[in-house]
């Protein structure tokens, strides 16, 4: 590549992405990585050090800081199953699993989210290309992230929005969101009565297409109510800076 071509490439990158440049050089690889929002180690009974991708395996087998009793359906006759590790969780929990004690839902969701994140990071591939800008969590994020990130509690209202073809983006559903940067990997989006804290948990290629993706979670909560949810998503962004949902993970 000549100097002129380098110059033009740099200009193009600046124009498209403004804050970061895409490295598409052959041979460059973006490793799987995680941030301080990946807190699995702090939820384990044993002191486990997670430095390399391979270390994540140890977190799957390690004991949680406490057991959580779950039921697989909500009939009174349902058998109570204690879970004490991610390995337990993967083998015994189903899509109908709830905690035996309703008030333990939040702590259980945190454990389940971290287990799922551990599994995803463990099996993610390094990426050949990346179109992720450095400061993608900012006040404009709701206008570029897909509508699935929106915080909705009413099933009826969510179904109505899902049928509305004009609602492409998060901000099309949650309008007038205010923004507060908590750290480089954590931002708060809020309106009157509710908030979403978006955590960047990790980066890697989660769908084996060679392009770097992100793993984020949304902590959804309301003011003066007990509703709380933790959702986990993988998202990808292309060279046109278009974000799309790869998958929302159910615990």
């Amino acid at each position: 590549m000549t100097m002129n071509k380098y110059f033009l490439l740099t200009l193009a990158c600046l124009f498209i992405l403004t804050s970061s440049c895409v490295n598409t050089e052959v041979g460059t690889e973006y490793p799987v990585s995680w941030t301080s929002q990946y807190t699995m180690a702090s939820l384990l009974d044993d002191a486990i050090i997670i430095k390399e991708q391979n270390d994540l395996k140890n977190a799957i087998n390690a004991s949680w800081y406490a057991e959580v009793d779950i039921i697989t359906d909500e009939n009174e006759s349902s058998e109570i199953t204690p879970l004490s590790s991610c390995k337990d969780y993967f083998s015994k929990a189903t899509s109908h699993t709830t905690t035996l004690r309703e008030y333990e839902t939040g702590p259980f969701l945190l454990l389940a989210k971290m287990c799922r994140a551990t599994e995803l990071l463990l099996h993610a591939n390094p990426s050949k290309y990346s179109y992720i800008s450095n400061n993608f969590l900012n006040k404009s994020t709701p206008h570029i992230f897909p509508s699935e990130i929106a915080f909705q509690i009413s099933t009826g209202e969510a179904e109505k929005n899902a049928k509305d073809k004009s609602k492409h983006y998060w901000a099309d559903i949650n309008q007038n969101l205010q923004f507060e940067a908590i750290s480089e990997t954590q931002s708060k989006f809020f309106d009157d009565g509710g908030s979403q804290i978006i955590d960047l948990i990790g980066r890697g290629d989660f769908n084996a297409d060679g392009i770097e993706d992100i793993l984020i979670s949304s902590r959804d909560s309301v003011e003066d109510g007990d509703y709380f949810n933790l959702r986990l998503f993988s998202l990808s962004v292309n060279e046109k800076r278009e974000w799309r949902l790869i998958r929302e993970y159910q615990y």
Partner: protein
Amino acid sequence: MTTITEKNILRKKLEKYEGKVSHMYRDSKGYITVGVGHLLKSVYEAQILRFEDSNNNPATNSEIKLEFETIQKLPADLLASAYKKHATLTLPDTEIKRLTEIHINSFEKELEIIYPDFRLYPTQVRLALFDLIFNLGMTKLQSNWPIFNSAIKAKNWQKAADNSKRKSPVSAARNKYVKDLLEQVAKP
């Protein structure tokens, strides 16, 4: 006015959803909490409660401050039992009950603001609305549930029942409880 029977039902429901924890812990949002989901926004808010030490003697302000700061340093959103080993002070049952009564009365006032005819609604509808406001808070219930709120104000209980479902992780049992209450009135 909420009857004693209704208040007993509501208190048990709140204990089921929030737990009843006599020591300080950090909730899912990271706030210091005690009793039945009673939020302590500051050390002062903890100090005005009747905390007791392990000998059932009233805790001093400095003991309460120390406990608050100790719990604050622990990670948020753990099981309440994980905070117990770090806690030395407890709130007596009578105090927890008093705080829960205050919450119920406060929610009732908010429901009367959202639904001016709230006092005239059948018991089942009132209990259903209490469950929703416990869960969603006043602002979200008022602003994000237009179909449901229109149905309630039109006293179309069946339509309200059909639009009362909350998304996961609200349990199917909790959604069914609200739907059944509204349907009991819709189909007497």
